[in-house]
Symmetry: none
Subunit: 198 residues, 4 copies
DNA sequence: TATGAATGAGGATTCATTCAT
DNA sequence: AATGAATGAATCCTCATTCAT
């Protein structure tokens, strides 16, 4: 069952893995193809058999790992715009984020780089789409800020909560709770005085 | 009376200005010293008369612009740890952030780069210090997350709120309001059932 | 059958050859990689494919060419410490020196440079080892000086004897003769009054 | 009597001193004007007030310190070409060498550099002149080599005798003794069978 | 499916030198 | 007698990329 030497067709994936972890650790610009190749014990030229350019490696990683976000958006667009839906969006987004933590950390910490790359726009628009699904046009500005903050607090949560002690899973739950609280606040504000919440 | 050429002694500052705006726009790594020099109509070597290395340029900028954060921390450490103090910390931090928006945007968008530079640790510890001034040890994990989120929501607010329409100053006020709300929530939670709030 | 272009795999050696002759002619510091590359009709970057640094080029040359000295030391350490052995050491050293004249001339004329490089110590210790094989602890100081002088006179002989007319091979023989004479003097002094020479 | 701050007109000499010691320590090429200036707590530009170029600094040092060699040659040319004269030449040369040890060490260790500089030829011709005063045209090649070796052994002696234990002055005396011995050998060879030595 | 060899463009940095003040 | 500011040319080196094999 165990494969003695690396499985055929594996190299492409191994490149992506090593590349992502180096990109996340050192940044995109500071990671050279030589370095990636060395970690894999292949030559730089081998990378070019599998990918057209350095940027291509990154794109392929992002494409693979960002699909769940697309699926989340697709799903959400088919749901009623209730508070419960929004809470569920956040819950699922939390899962997505932690499922591809290295990638999102990379995106977060290399925004200046990513902005110039073709993936930049793509990503930004996806998060914006998510934002649109959380806030409502009639919300006050403050409540709109609450919605966007809910989203970004989860991003920040991935690396900025080191000063808080505790089990990672508990922390993640707490972060989600705070984000959901923000959405709930916005929702309550907007529907104050109404009998029925949609 | 008007200075026909650039004022004497100005070059050092002009370098910092141009460098910061290029760093913020394109990222640190993608900005070459040649580019900075060309924007200033001097030679690369002139930069080296004023700064020892490329990193040194950045350090000098950060040193100048991050002083207000130090002052804020100093001030805050002399205040009672009341809710009002914390609200005021956030208000002042908001001011600081917008007073040096380009720098903070740079720090935010180039974290991977900054992490490896000597300023990385410096900055991280300052923000952590601020965080410590907002949260209390006896807070629940959720409330601690609220405090850290309050801080980071203001960072995120500087560039992630483009999807919200409205006057920038209003937006900034709304962001501050949300951040202060988070702190207030944490405070209320922690003191629920008590007659007196400190 | 004739190779129209340079033979494959040759480049590494060609770099070493050109580098050594330029280093010897102009000195290490004054020889730029650009110059070496131009002599070879390749780009500077090509040099970096074959060698990690400029110093590395030099190290590789020294490693290759200094091996005979190691072999000489190894051989000598297995021999009895007689006068005949010492004379033979000098004879072989003479051969070694002339077999890699360019390198030794370089080492001689670039001591200040070489001293800071990693090869500096290496070389110094080898020559010291040779010196130890020539002199004996019980020798008078003068006789020890004779031994060291014997060694160094052969180095000096490689470039300092231009004021003497004559066939190079004859000159070399004469230099060796003088060196051997110095050793013989030292030996005679030390054993004066003894019946047997070891 | 003591001058509280550096004596007027001193700077020129201080530059020469610092420059020579840095040149000797690190080599000419590796010593930058910045470094010299820093050691003196002046600016690079100040060096240019006193000297026209970097090479000029070196030339001025050499001119000052090499004068004794000229005087030695002048003196020797007025003496009879006897063995005693030659011994005295060596003795005086030994004195000269140790009187300006740093300079001679520099010349010895930076030959490749010095060769390209204008002083190179100057120096070489002086040593050659000394050589001519030691050897005689009718000497055998071996004896001519003895004479040149006598000269160079004193140079080598300045730094190559570290493997010999003992008081520096004793060592210097031993080196001179060996050099004089070589000259004596040459002389004896040449006059073997003659009743009278000139 | 890869490699060995190479390139062209560009990077940061250092240097000797100049000149107005 | 010396400085502050700057330059132009050069340095070593690294990178993403290419292509014949």
């Amino acid at each position: 069952m165990a494969t003695p030497h690396v499985r055929k067709g594996d190299t492409r994936h191994r490149i992506q893995d090593v590349a992502l972890s180096l990109f996340a650790e050192q940044g995109y610009e500071k990671t050279s193809l030589r370095e990636i190749a060395e970690h894999l014990d292949v030559t730089k030229a081998a990378l070019y058999y599998h990918f057209k350019t350095k940027e291509d490696i990154l794109i392929s990683i992002v494409d693979d790992l960002a699909r769940p976000v697309d699926e989340l958006i697709d799903w959400a667009e088919g749901q009623p715009r209730t508070l419960a839906t929004k809470q569920e969006i956040l819950r699922r987004y939390s899962e997505t984020l932690w499922g591809a933590a290295e990638l999102f950390r990379f995106m977060q910490e290399n925004q200046a780089t990513v902005r110039e790359l073709s993936i930049g726009e793509t990503f930004k628009s996806k998060i914006q789409a998510l934002g649109e699904l959380l806030k409502e046009p009639e919300y006050s500005m403050t409540d709109q800020v609450r919605c966007i903050t809910a989203l970004f607090s989860m991003h920040a949560g991935m690396f900025a909560m080191q000063s808080i002690e505790g089990d990672p899973d508990d922390k993640r739950a707490a972060i989600l709770e705070v984000a959901q609280g923000l959405i709930a606040d916005a929702h309550r504000d907007a529907h104050r005085g109404q009998t029925d919440t949609p």
